[in-house]
Symmetry: C2
Subunit: 327 residues, 2 copies
């Protein structure tokens, strides 16, 4: 951490005032240097009170996504401990892949205020307007087999769902495999990419896009997409939500790596696809059925009209009543 | 193709002399320009006879791995049609990955005279001394599922095995999944890496290392490794072998993409692991058995001592009598 990051963290951890002397001795820098960093933090939007003989006190933090603000608040071991922030980039997943080749550490976080070529699953476009969402990817090095990565994506969805529920109180649910929906509309999409040998994953990159403070959607998306601001009726601070997602994600992925066979029951409880009529394509034919369970390999188990049980491993499954689907 | 590449190809395709006038009119360049390219080809080691009033004739091609020499002789549709040659690089697979991010076309070939950080399967080192081997990777974009890639690696091994047999007459065989052996020693290793979403591969990079003209191996490798030069008792031209591998590989991969379920019977015929005693580890325990078949999913089926049939999907399987293994 830089001196400025450490000062911000000390201010955040101190309930009351902390003296300039204390800061200067803890960081082993001059009081003039402390003052320079305080001024720089104020310029970034932090409200810091200073009182002679008492010192400094943090009154208000801006909703700023910067390496300083993220690292000062983040309670993880590895995930997000190296931060790359971009005002604008093609896609945070592409940034992560480019940096992975250069050997950046496990857990690196890639975050952009705007993506110009944001990507969704199955080659789709993901709209990522500037300043209104959380568009980020993390680089997770792992030695799982490629087969286990599909469960990892389900667990990523679960972690994001948990964080949204905890931070906003919104009744977010998971549409299999890992869309996050509120009511019948999508609030978050996740695209997981990986680099692997045939039998050994090198790294996984979950790319997460959360519609946070998008005030409204164009007519063609209005019935399929929502944002946290629309659901809450007011803007939602992005920084605490980002921190919560990273913390939930680290917890969930660590547990998964330790025991890849233990599929969390909580996923089933939060999965909006279950016990609903669903539609999918197989061998060019449209199939209908009822989603009845998730297998321990993460497949959606669909009971078809003839009574047969079909495990769905990949691709798109439409759910009656979600995203305006009716059939 | 550049003018020089076209001239080389025309010289190769012409049985006898081709006039400077013919070359200059076919390429729509001056005769002085034709002469400049001829001189440049001679400087690269091509022996080109020139006779007044008859023109040029190619007498001898050097065993040169250059974009010109490769493209002039290559009979494929896509594979190898874009060539990147390096005197020395870390690893041709890494080159391929870096270039893939920059959007180079499907089928691009990455070839190095020397790899300083050559990689083998399962994180091992692959020694790639300068000028004595074929160290190359190809970028194959595909829409297969990650599950299908394991068969693709078996088929890559089969294509290389075919090419070595056809070009040298050596009785090369395949050690499951895709080492190529002659007798009991390894002559070629293949490391296949991929970039994928959970249910859709973006590209596959088969990296192929063939020990061609390595005159001898250090004592610790002597009993496990061989080269084509050692087997044949004389140096083997690298260029025709490279071209043969690329042509076999394109044929095999095209057939596989068209029908991923048709596992080629020829693989079984050339697989040295079958009908031998093998050893593998599972759940930390050493297992012994007899390899009896390859499943249509590319798994090695091992009959254990208690009669049970274990399908092996990944990892290392030692074969009695191969690479000095005895157990």
């Amino acid at each position: 951490m830089t001196a400025k990051q450490t000062i911000l963290q000390l201010l955040q951890q101190t309930d009351g005032y902390i003296s300039g002397q204390e800061l200067s001795s803890q960081l082993n820098i001059t009081r003039a240097a402390v003052w320079k960093h305080i001024r720089s933090l104020r310029a970034e939007g932090y409200t810091i009170d200073s009182v002679t003989n008492r010192g400094y006190r943090l009154l208000h933090s801006p909703d700023l996504l910067s390496p300083e603000s993220i690292l000062a608040g983040l309670k993880t071991h590895t995930l997000g401990k190296r931060v790359f922030c971009f005002a604008s980039t093609d896609s945070t997943n592409e940034e992560a892949k480019r940096h992975a080749l250069q050997g950046v550490p496990d857990g690196s976080l890639f975050l952009a205020e705007e993506q110009t070529q944001g990507k969704g699953r199955l080659g789709r476009v993901w709209t990522s307007p500037p300043g209104s969402g959380l568009w980020f990817s993390v680089l997770k090095r792992t030695c799982l087999s490629p087969l286990q990565v599909s469960n990892m994506t389900l667990i990523t969805g679960l972690a994001v769902c948990r964080a949204i529920r905890a931070q906003t109180g919104c009744p977010a649910l998971i549409k299999w495999p890992n869309d996050i929906v509120i009511g019948s509309r999508k609030v978050c999409g996740i695209l997981t990419e990986m680099a692997a040998e045939v039998d050994k994953v090198e790294y996984v990159i979950p790319g997460i896009g959360i519609n946070v403070n998008i005030p409204s959607f164009p007519p063609e998306l209005k019935k399929k997409a929502t944002s946290l601001q629309i659901e809450m009726g007011k803007p939602v601070p992005r920084l605490p939500l980002l921190l919560a997602v990273l913390e939930e994600l680290e917890k969930a992925l660590d547990a998964f790596e330790e025991n890849p066979l233990a599929f969390p029951e909580e996923y089933r409880q939060l999965c909006v696809s279950l016990n609903r009529t669903v539609k999918f394509f197989r061998n060019g034919r449209e199939h209908h059925g009822r989603a009845v369970d998730i297998s321990s390999e993460g497949e959606l188990l669909v009971q078809e009209e003839d009574g047969s049980l079909t495990p769905i491993y990949s691709g798109e499954v439409s759910v009656q009543g979600i995203y305006e689907e009716s059939f």
